[in-house]
């Protein structure tokens, strides 16, 4: 079990106030910094992290119990993410720049003034980092990258599970930013639960983000929403990530599905927000037996003692439910690292008791559910809460259009014939979903669209060119994509009279 560091003290109120006020000043300077310079600074951070890998990874191993290969891959993902946001800044479509020329004949009944609109930074952002991704969703992770890209200062609340790594990564980020000429105080790391809550309530903070538990995330969301000035709070909380296997797929690809499922739910000891927690398989398909017979990953200590005890408690509650059988587990004492556990029930029972048993156990456990017919699957899809992902394993001949439609209502990402773990950082990625998957289903935590969560639109009416933001000027010196008089590529706007 990882030892909890006690060498880093919580941030004092005095220090916190100074950090926040410096961040507010830095945020204004950063918002006014050209996008190309912000992009260069992100690339500097990425290079500095790559260069510091050999120092950071041992600290991460010591604090999180995660394997070296996993941590190296995560660091690569983290630096890739920073570089991809740099590219996003240089490309410019994230600004959603729109220009409407003045139009005396605008058919609204009154002339249209010259109106130009772009997205601008919200201001200082408070990021609560995750336990399970000490790099990619922590100090230099996705929200830090997208907030810095957006032009916002970042105050990073370190996770108590990896304080030394947070401090060391924070030093790398700060040094890289300073070398890149970024304003002082643009990025800071703070420590301690109280400091995090105090910062969230501070009027100078303009947005928050979080990755963690439903209870912790909801408490923070409530602070953000009940402030005198409420602020956006992007919490990623809990998700079961159901997987549905059609009868045709079970017949044709039974072995592949059994192996893929066990590999996915035990990856990193099941400590992924996208772990497939529930698998629906056709009754009589033999899949439960095949899954129970798989070689399972070794028992591994979880990220930290709190997560391990939380997992054991949640698992016991579900295991002991009358509707649930244990399909496979190994007897171990509570002190031992948990071994992968597979539970089982039927769709009928799950529909009846879904509030108690269709629930996230953060660790190496999964529930296999046998179903009799497709209408049970549709009923499950209708009653479940919001999810980060929902997956179907099927064949092209399957009639699953209605299931896809219902799952798209419940999940941010719907997956066909793959496993939900492993969230690619891309232009079209969506990592989010209806509550309780997140507190803001209209946003994503992964992918280039994540920059939008820290931006707000501002329109400029009737301004002379020299007073307009550069992306809204007619000469468009940065060559950012501009929508002019409602025209996107290939579209026509019959209401426009300016052409």
């Amino acid at each position: 079990m990882a030892t909890q560091s006690t060498t880093i003290s919580p941030t004092t109120t005095e220090k916190l106030n100074s950090i926040i006020s410096t961040a507010a000043t830095a945020s204004e300077l950063w918002a006014a910094t050209p996008a190309a310079e912000r992009a260069a600074a992100l690339i500097s951070i990425a290079s500095a992290l790559d260069a510091a890998a050999s120092e950071l990874i041992p600290v991460a191993r010591e604090e999180t119990n995660l394997a070296e290969g996993r941590l190296k891959g995560e660091l690569q993902r983290t630096t890739f993410q920073l570089r991809l946001f740099a590219e996003t800044l240089n490309e410019g479509s994230y600004l959603d720049a729109r220009i409407d020329h003045a139009d005396q004949q605008w058919p609204m009944g009154a002339p249209r003034p010259d109106l130009r609109r772009q997205l601008e930074p919200l201001g200082p952002v408070l990021v609560f980092s995750a336990s399970n991704f000490p790099f990619a969703f922590s100090v230099a992770g996705g929200d830090t990258a997208s907030a810095l890209a957006a032009g916002c200062a970042v105050i990073l609340k370190a996770h108590s599970g990896h304080p030394k790594l947070s401090e060391a990564t924070g030093d790398v980020v700060r040094t890289a930013l300073a070398k890149a000429g970024a304003p002082e105080g643009l990025f800071s790391v703070i420590f301690g639960t109280q400091a995090g809550m105090d910062a969230l309530a501070d009027p100078l903070i303009k947005a928050g983000s979080f990755t963690g538990s439903i209870s912790g995330g909801r408490a923070l969301f409530d602070i953000a929403s009940s402030r005198p000035e409420p602020i956006p709070f992007y919490g990623e909380l809990g998700s079961v990530n159901p997987v549905f296997v059609t009868r045709a797929a079970a017949e044709i690809r039974k072995e592949e599905i059994a192996a893929g499922f066990t590999a996915s739910f035990t990856l990193s000891a099941g400590q992924f927000c996208t772990k497939p927690g529930v698998l629906f398989v056709p009754a009589g398909s033999g899949l439960p037996e095949l899954i129970a017979a798989q070689d399972l990953a070794e028992a591994t200590p979880l990220l930290n003692p709190r997560i391990q005890s939380g997992y054991i408690e949640a698992l016991q509650t579900v295991s002991n439910h009358d509707s649930v059988q244990v399909l496979r587990s190994e007897k171990r004492s509570l002190e031992d690292p948990p071994a992968p556990t597979i539970l089982m029930t039927t769709a009928k029972k799950l529909i009846k008791d879904h509030e108690e048993i269709f629930t996230e156990c953060f660790g190496p456990a999964a529930l296999v559910v046998t179903f009799e017919n497709d209408s049970e699957l549709l009923e499950v899809a209708s009653i479940i809460e919001g999810q980060l992902t929902a997956t179907i394993h099927g064949e092209n001949s399957d009639d699953v259009a209605e299931l896809v439609r219902l799952l798209a209502k419940k999940a941010g990402r719907v997956i066909w014939n793959a496993w939900p773990t492993g969230v690619s950082v891309t232009y079209a990625q969506q990592h989010g979903g209806p509550y309780p998957a997140t507190t803001s289903s209209t946003s994503t935590a992964v992918g280039t669209a994540a920059i939008n969560r820290f931006l707000r639109p501002v329109a400029y009416q009737g301004f002379p060119q020299h007073l307009l933001p550069i992306a809204l000027q007619d000469s468009n010196p940065l060559c950012v994509p501009q929508q002019v008089n409602g025209k996107s590529a290939g579209a026509s706007h019959p209401m426009d009279h300016n052409k």
Copy 2:
């Protein structure tokens, strides 16, 4: 004074539950309805409203005290808005369709799967209508138009100030939707404060919107945010809409500015959310005297008795403040319709007492503030709360870049040499702003971008073409704009390996 209708009873709990459950079913059917059919239905509503103008406008006059010309113009705006959203649907860029092809060499460290993402409807929306725009921000107003366009059912909470008009307009909308083949229960009007609050708390409602007071809007925001499943709540609350006149502009265009200001703040008896409530003019410019000498609009009864008494109370509080003088008012008894009132103070006093005197008085009043130097204006711009608009009257030679930058932080729309009243419905419009102007500064209530407030992203990973939403298919039969592998027009993506 308009008489308050007592003929329409509050919606009963039983009726409300039936309306909500029908709306939930209708919302699913509507979300699956092709965009072109939704567009046709919006156009049908617009045509039906145009055809019903001669019946609706007299009802609006009777209930709101607004003049016929103003109401006709507002109805034209309303039907234009519906038609513009129809155009938005047919054009398709609102979907933000993104396609990433699978890429084995994706430099994240793991292959990129095929990922496709579009925006999809949130589900049933509850719209609280406004007192001051009985057409354009009410039953068939902006939020109804954008929610229906987005593919969401709408439950419209009628404003108590114009219940008969709400019922009559609701009938027109419902009949038009039925004729267009829309699902039953897609649109309903409900009555009564309790019914509105109960609906907002109902788990089947997935978003809310509101136009009105800070206290009312905040109470509803708190309900929306404290639900077991919190939902987005787009409240447009209060705004002072400050206007800053530079010394150069005051010298060159004194008469024009005095006349424009008085016309704008007294338009519709000052009952616009964008009324310029505070005007900053250079000390010694003679502008206050010129403004005081303008022909002012006649005293007019306000929208309803509650608004009139609220206005008189707010105005008295500010007028009686030690830092404020009355520049112009007419003695009238409290029962008489209020005449335009102009108050006055200095920037120094306003900076000291801004919390008490820089405040919205919803009605025909404005505060003229004399300033000594530009640094006072910059200080004002730094300390004020969020605004819908902020305006500068200046000359091209003025050095106002810093003022523009500060105002863009505080307002959704920054205006040059015009007046904030009259919010054009366009592609680049932004009607929103930081709290308390709205509860969600990342959204707009006016313009085609308003459709986004009722949409959320969904990604589809690895799906065969026939199971994908039509806008994400390679053949792109609707010809909607698709961003493919991160490419927008004119942009290059060095990280893409698919070309």
